[in-house]
């Protein structure tokens, strides 16, 4: 006796959250059944394995049918075939578009192309996430990217409107889209300690301040592409390190303000500009011309090149985070320093790019503080 056909259809579509999770995680029916058995559900309910099998199959079938609709979530709301309460619809969508931290870290900043898709095998092996789940997550990224890529208006709003995601998840997707579009490098070894949350935080700041949308809300791609003009202008900041007087003035302003407030004052002072007094550089790991101010300004000046945009995070880590970290700056000192460092530029009489500086440094300060951890 075999079950040739076995279905259950409710007027209200039954959604079992646990099974949905297993399905999203890409387990086959038999794996899912095995996992459910291990969860002790049989003992709780007195059901048999056959019942569990049939139930799992049913849910999988339903999810399979729903998947088409989940690709365009507004369709799920308007379709008539499955009667699902709104709260459940939201749950279905939210979970479907949720992603694994481990996965997103692998893909973040990569081009969402067929090539990357081919690498999913390796990612799956590396992260222990099933290939099926990897594909789903990758396809989600790509789908969202395609839809909002060339859209006008706020990136987060567009995502929210077209995919009906929660605010949190929409912001995450905005970060993913932003990273994918600008191809920021996130996979280098020295960036491994950063979480997706760190990048997402930076992405949000950059979207708010560095994109076209920051100045004009009526442009295509406004939240996705960086403001080229702005990047171009950033070169002007070079004067802060090129002009020796300006640099010294800047340094003294910062040092005066921070004296006694910083536990790592001497290191700060030493690192602020190229070691004119030479010997103080006790950190051999940091290359000679490396100092904090120059580093930050140089990063700005280079951003006009696409390649340097991609390496933004690598540069930030190398030029700022690592030196500070090697001197054991406490986070609070970093904050005090950056605040003072950005603010004191306003007192530099010879410096004409105050607005540009604020647009750059305001964002960078936020990013650096977020990136500065172990």
């Amino acid at each position: 006796m075999t079950n040739e056909l076995d279905i259950f259809v409710g007027n209200t579509t039954l959604i079992d959250e646990d099974v949905y999770r297993l399905w999203l995680d890409g387990y086959s029916v038999s794996d899912a059944v095995a996992r459910r058995v291990r969860s002790g559900i049989l003992e709780q309910t007195g059901a048999t394995a056959a019942v569990l099998q049939s139930d799992t199959m049913d849910h999988y079938r339903t999810f399979h049918m729903l998947e088409r609709l989940l690709h365009a979530p507004p369709k799920l709301l308007h379709q008539l075939i499955f009667q699902i309460p709104p709260s459940r619809q939201a749950l279905l969508i939210e979970r479907y578009y949720a992603f694994d931290e481990a996965f997103v870290r692998e893909v973040l900043g990569k081009k969402l192309s067929k090539g990357t898709k081919k690498d999913l095998d390796d990612i799956s092996t590396k992260t222990g996430i099933t290939l099926k789940s990897c594909r789903r997550q990758f396809d989600n990224f790509k789908r969202v990217f395609k839809v909002v890529e060339e859209m006008r208006g706020s990136l987060v709003d567009n995502i929210q409107q077209h995919f009906l995601l929660s605010d949190r998840l929409s912001r995450d997707y905005a970060a993913i889209v932003f990273f994918a579009n600008n191809r920021f490098e996130t996979g280098k070894k020295k960036l491994q300690y950063l979480s997706f949350g760190d990048f997402a935080f930076c992405a949000e700041l950059m979207i708010q301040n560095w994109t076209l949308g920051a100045v004009d809300s009526q442009v295509d791609d406004m939240d996705v592409d960086l403001d080229k003009e702005f990047l171009q202008d950033l070169k002007e900041l070079k004067v802060l390190v090129a002009d020796k007087d300006l640099l010294d003035l800047h340094k003294s302003l910062v040092c005066t303000a921070l004296r006694g407030k910083l536990s790592v004052f001497s290191e700060m002072e030493a690192n602020f500009k190229p070691p004119a007094s030479g010997a103080e550089d006790r950190t051999p790991r940091i290359p000679a011309p490396q100092n904090l101010s120059r580093g930050l300004v140089n990063v700005a000046a280079k951003l006009i090149h696409n390649k340097d945009v991609r390496d933004l995070f690598v540069d930030l880590i190398e030029k700022f985070v690592e030196p500070c970290r090697s001197d054991h700056w406490p986070l609070n000192d970093v904050r005090l320093f950056l605040n003072q460092y950005s603010a004191s530029v306003h007192s530099l009489d010879g410096f004409r790019h105050q607005t540009l500086w604020d647009r750059y440094m305001g964002t960078l300060r936020g990013c650096l503080l977020r990136l500065y951890h172990d």
């Binding site: 006796m1 075999t2 079950n3 040739e4 056909l5 076995d6 279905i7 259950f8 259809v9 409710g10 007027n11 209200t12 579509t13 039954l14 309910t45 007195g46 059901a47 048999t48 056959a50 019942v51 569990l52 049939s54 139930d55 199959m57 049913d58 079938r61 339903t62 399979h64 049918m65 369709k75 709301l77 308007h78 379709q79 008539l80 075939i81 499955f82 009667q83 309460p85 709104p86």
Partner: protein, 1042 residues
């Protein structure tokens, strides 16, 4: 002439991509009614076209309006080749034809294609302007309301219940026409869908005409079925109960002519004299009477006692003569009807006087080609025979009417089993005489209420029982005789006193049969039938005992015929009626008592059975109050002695008494194990697993013993098909497979719905079919309803509710419907057409008659019965289970007033979600009030695929199809302005597959009543006039109108 149909095509959305190149579609719409077709413009390159068409106007006869569906076809325009069809929508405009229902149909309809399923949606507005036509000879019956609900619909009052209406129409099945060989599957499916839609429209119109003839205005309990007879044609038949209904809100109803002559009745409260009935065929197990002293009695309950007092007074004096008079009147009123049948299963209090028991008849027919669709006499005659038989069975039980009546068929190749069943009953003569006096009615109900146990009392003469039945005095009123077990096809009367909770009881049975052709096949089947009925009945009885219960409600026995087997599936809801005696236990007796190990085995089994009974009693809270000796008093001993005289106690049953003390009663039921089969039977008894805790199940409208429903409901359909291994199939293996199939299915349901605990599966409806040699298909539709565990314990309710009932008369008004049977208002021959048919059928010498002669006609049950009864007698000697007559099962129940159901005061429920359309097989929605009936939903769909694997195999295919059917039902309801379907039923789900060809086909037929409901919690807030207006937004809200 009188009607103008107006249609506007507004927009489409989610259309499929029809042009691969552009990934878009150039869609336009054809609107067709009758022979007229209109077209919209082509809306280029869009998947969400906005046609916003003009109003297309069709001027049509109202006859056509009733018969024809509105047909909307969405197509993709193609300049160079033929336009491709995207899909269709059929809209039944019947609901627009009577004033109280919907006024406009407007909403999004799924565009359906029989090959691809749902492909997008279309927004349509439909209106009808109807001109009144007073032509007496008109062929239309616009304005007659149809209800699937098998009780008086909630917002109506029955002025008169006229009685049975039936009709059938036949046609050739397009699938079997020659043209089918050359047309596409899509064309063939569409031809079929359209034909069936037409036929059901015609059928409804014809039934409507009959109703008008009877001066009714509605059909309640309308049941329409399709018989796919294959080569020999397509039959659409329907039965229902004609009524004159009156909307409750309207203060003064129009009173039909018949209401006057009922004055004497007032003085004579109805009593139930022991002399009412005559005799009954009854399958009662053998009992010893001595035990009943120990059995519990329910008469302790206060209300019952009061009523008993009143009842006895009247009974003593004028009761006798009056009764006879009333009876005469009732009978004369009913005898004018050709068939005094009622498809209703629930009745207003006082309507049902006595219940005799289940009556059923089956007949095996050989199908022949329907040669002339306009003369469906053959089928008419077949059904007429069966109905006649039912009528005579009812008479034999001393009853003049049959309630809870239904008909069904099972077809395999050219053999067809026709079945009809119902519950023989005595109806209240007052209702027959008394047209309308509402004021009096209430009084009467009061008077009448005392007899809460009345319906259990036997309608037949105890001295004249043709079959041995064990009678005792009613445990409730102690005045009248009741049987020990009662089987019925109706719902539990609202005022019946019940102890504990009820439960679903099923008997399942398979019998192998040799493959045979034509007559030989029919003969083989009809020879098997009595055995099957007997065994089904025995199983039911055993399982009932095992549950410690004494009555079955909602009994439905389905016999399905296949190529090489017959299946029997009986479902019912077991209940402990307080008026009936406590059932005895089950006693096993071995055949070879000297064998030690064998005896050990037997005693082991016995212990298991005893344990199960004890467990069940606990589970279902069956603990009737013990009767004190004084209460028992005099009446009891007498019947006991008599039964001793009538029936000699066998030794074994005496032993039982000794052994069975644990149950506190001596009338145990003896199962003698004389062979392995019997052993299997006993084993199978014990394999039924009770539902997990927190779950209850029943197949009636409401679960006896639960009345605190909360608002969450989940209707579902589950289908399973198993393939039997064809190797050495035996009856036993088959039985086991079938039993496992049903049990596993139930287990799956319990598991799936576990999040709703505590909940009850109501109206559990199993359907078995045998699509192929080795396939068994079981389809279940039911609704799970949550209830509040912490509310009102059963025992408390019994008392509280009485007062509640009294107090809240207006509440009751809605649920308690005065029904009247009015003989005066009826033409002498309510069914002239039927009679003519009968006559012509018999006199007609044409082809049908000849064929009938050749076909084996087994419908006359009497012939079968004699041999059959002998057979039972034989068996009874060995098995000692008492005798049963297959066709006629007689039982009674006891009425103790306890109106649990009506007062189930659902707590304020969660706010309804916008746009949700609820579906339920029940006639009500817990925690809500139905404010409007919008019309009947009756839909037929065919779905076919030639890419079965790609659609997820058979399961994927059917899963999607059923989901689509639900969606289309919901969309139609929403477009009518409704927010629920009640009395929903999936009447047919015919599934055929051919995996080798990667093909499958499925036909589904569903029906129900579209309604508007308002949450009781909302009602409290809103003033009484608003609800109707208020619910419109509720229903349409979900529609995203663009």
């Amino acid at each position: 002439m009188p009607g103008k149909l107006k249609v506007k095509i507004v927009a489409g959305r989610h259309l499929p991509v029809m042009d691969r190149a552009s990934d878009l579609t150039d869609a336009f719409v054809e609107v067709k009614f009758g022979n007229t077709t209109f077209k919209t413009d082509v809306y280029l390159k869009s998947l969400n076209p906005q046609w916003n068409s003009e109003w297309f106007k069709f001027e049509v006869d109202d006859e056509d309006l009733q018969d024809e569906p509105l047909q909307i076809t969405v197509l993709d325009h193609d300049t160079y080749s033929a336009n491709d069809a995207i899909g269709k929508v059929y809209i039944d405009i019947d609901p627009l034809l009577y004033s109280e229902a919907a006024t406009v149909i407007s909403g999004w309809f799924p565009i359906y294609d029989t090959i691809h399923g749902i492909r997008g949606e279309i927004n349509v507005i439909v209106k009808v302007d109807l001109f009144n036509d007073l032509n007496r000879f008109r062929q239309s019956s616009c304005g007659v309301k149809f209800f699937c609900t098998t009780s008086i619909p909630k917002c109506y009052r029955a002025v008169i219940i006229h009685g049975f209406v039936e009709e059938l129409v036949v046609n050739e099945d397009p699938e079997y026409q020659w043209i089918d060989r050359i047309r596409t599957p899509r064309a063939s499916n569409e031809a079929r869908q359209r034909l069936i839609s037409l036929m059901s429209g015609e059928l409804q119109r014809k039934i409507g005409l009959k109703v008008l003839e009877m001066r009714g205005n509605a059909v309640v309990g309308y049941l329409q079925c399709f018989d796919l007879e294959g080569e020999s044609g397509l039959v659409v038949r329907a039965i229902g109960t004609a009524c004159t209904l009156d909307k409750l809100s309207s203060p003064a109803a129009f009173l039909p002519a018949c209401n006057s002559p009922s004055k004497e009745m007032k003085e004579s409260p109805l009593v139930h004299p022991p002399s009412l009935g005559c005799r009954s065929t009854q399958n009662s197990p053998i009992h010893t009477a001595t035990g009943s002293r120990l059995t519990q009695n329910f008469s302790v309950s206060v209300p019952t006692l009061i009523y008993t007092g009143m009842g006895s007074g009247s009974a003593g004096k004028e009761g006798g003569p009056f009764k006879a008079l009333l009876r005469q009147q009732t009978q004369s009123a009913l005898e004018q009807r050709e068939f005094p049948f009622f498809t209703l299963t629930a009745f207003p209090p006082g309507f049902l006087v006595h219940v005799g028991g289940v009556v059923s008849a089956r007949s095996v027919k050989l199908l022949d080609r329907i040669h002339n669709p306009d003369e469906p006499e053959t089928r008419d005659a077949w059904w007429a025979e069966i109905r006649q038989e039912i009528k005579s069975h009812a008479k034999a039980l001393g009853c003049h009417a049959v309630v809870g009546y239904s008909e069904s068929t099972s077809i395999c190749e050219e053999v067809c089993i026709l079945s009809a069943s119902g519950t023989a009953a005595v109806l209240n003569p007052r209702f027959l005489q008394d047209g309308t006096v509402e004021g009096c009615l209430e009084q009467r109900l009061e008077e009448n209420l005392p007899v809460g146990c009345g319906f259990c009392h036997i309608p037949y003469d105890e001295l004249n029982m043709p079959f041995p039945a064990h009678l005792t005095y009613c445990y409730n009123c102690r005045k009248q005789k009741v049987p020990d077990v009662l089987f019925t096809t109706i719902d539990l009367p609202t005022d019946a006193a019940v102890v504990g909770k009820g439960c679903l009881i099923q008997a399942r049975l398979c019998r192998l049969k040799k493959k045979a052709q034509a007559e030989a096949n029919a003969t083989a089947i009809s020879n098997l039938l009595p055995f099957m009925e007997y065994e089904v009945h025995t199983q039911l009885m055993n399982k009932l005992k095992l549950k410690g219960m004494n009555a079955l409600f909602g009994l439905r026995i389905q016999i399905t015929v296949g190529e090489n087997m017959l299946m029997g599936l009986a479902s019912a809801t077991g209940v402990y009626l307080a008026a009936l005696p406590t059932p005895g236990g089950i006693q096993i007796a071995g055949k070879t008592p000297n064998d030690g190990s064998y005896e050990q085995h037997i005693s082991h089994m016995q212990k298991k059975i005893n344990d199960t009974i004890a467990k069940n009693k606990e589970l279902y809270e069956i603990n009737p109050p013990e009767i004190s000796e004084e209460v028992i008093g005099s009446p009891i001993p007498e019947p006991r002695q008599r039964s001793r005289l009538l029936r000699s106690q066998s030794e074994s049953s005496d032993e039982v008494i000794e052994l069975d003390l644990s149950h506190g009663k001596k009338d145990a039921f003896v199962l003698e194990i004389d062979d392995t089969d019997a052993m299997e039977d006993v084993h199978s008894l014990l394999t039924d697993v009770p539902p997990p805790s927190g779950f209850y199940s029943c197949n009636t409208e409401i679960m006896p013993g639960i009345n605190n429903w909360t608002s969450e409901i989940q209707m579902f359909t589950s289908v399973r098909v198993i393939r039997l291994s064809s190797l050495n199939l035996t009856n036993q293996a088959l039985n086991k497979n079938f039993n496992d199939l049903c049990e596993n299915l139930l287990k799956s349901l319990y598991f799936k719905l576990r999040s709703m605990i505590p909940c009850c599966l109501c109206h559990v409806n199993f359907t078995v079919s045998l699509p192929e040699d080795e396939l068994i298909q079981v389809t279940v539709t039911a609704v799970a309803i949550t209830f509040d565990k912490n509310q009102a314990l059963q025992t408390i309710k019994t008392h509280v509710e009485k007062s509640l009932q009294r107090a809240s008369t207006d509440n009751e008004e809605l649920l308690q419907f005065p029904l009247e049977l009015c003989s005066d208002s009826l033409p002498p021959h309510p069914f002239p057409p039927a009679k003519e048919h009968l006559e012509s059928a018999s006199s007609n010498s044409g082809i049908p008659a000849a064929q009938r002669a050749t076909s084996v006609d087994y419908s006359s049950f009497a012939d079968r019965c004699s041999s059959w009864i002998e057979l039972i007698k034989l068996k009874a000697q060995t098995i000692r289970r008492g005798s049963i007559k297959t066709t006629v099962t007689v039982e009674k129940a006891s009425p103790v007033a306890e109106g649990n159901f009506r007062n189930r005061s659902a707590p304020p429920c969660a706010n309804s979600t916008v746009g949700v359309v609820k579906m339920t097989p029940l006639s009500f929605i817990p925690g809500a009030k139905i404010t409007k009936y919008l019309g009947i939903i009756n839909m037929f769909f065919i779905r076919e695929t030639t890419s079965l694997r790609e659609e997820g195999g058979v399961s994927g295919f059917l899963h999607a199809f059923i989901a689509e059917v639900f969606a289309m039902v919901r969309a139609h309801v929403a477009a009518l302005g409704g927010n629920a379907v009640v009395s929903y039923i999936m009447k047919q789900c015919v599934f055929m597959e051919n995996p080798n060809k990667n093909q499958a086909q499925c036909l589904i037929n569903v029906s129900g009543d579209a309604v508007v409901f308002v949450r009781e919690s909302d009602l409290e807030v809103i003033s009484t006039q608003q609800p109707t207006a208020n619910c419109q937004p509720l229903c349409t809200g979900g529609e995203v109108t663009t």
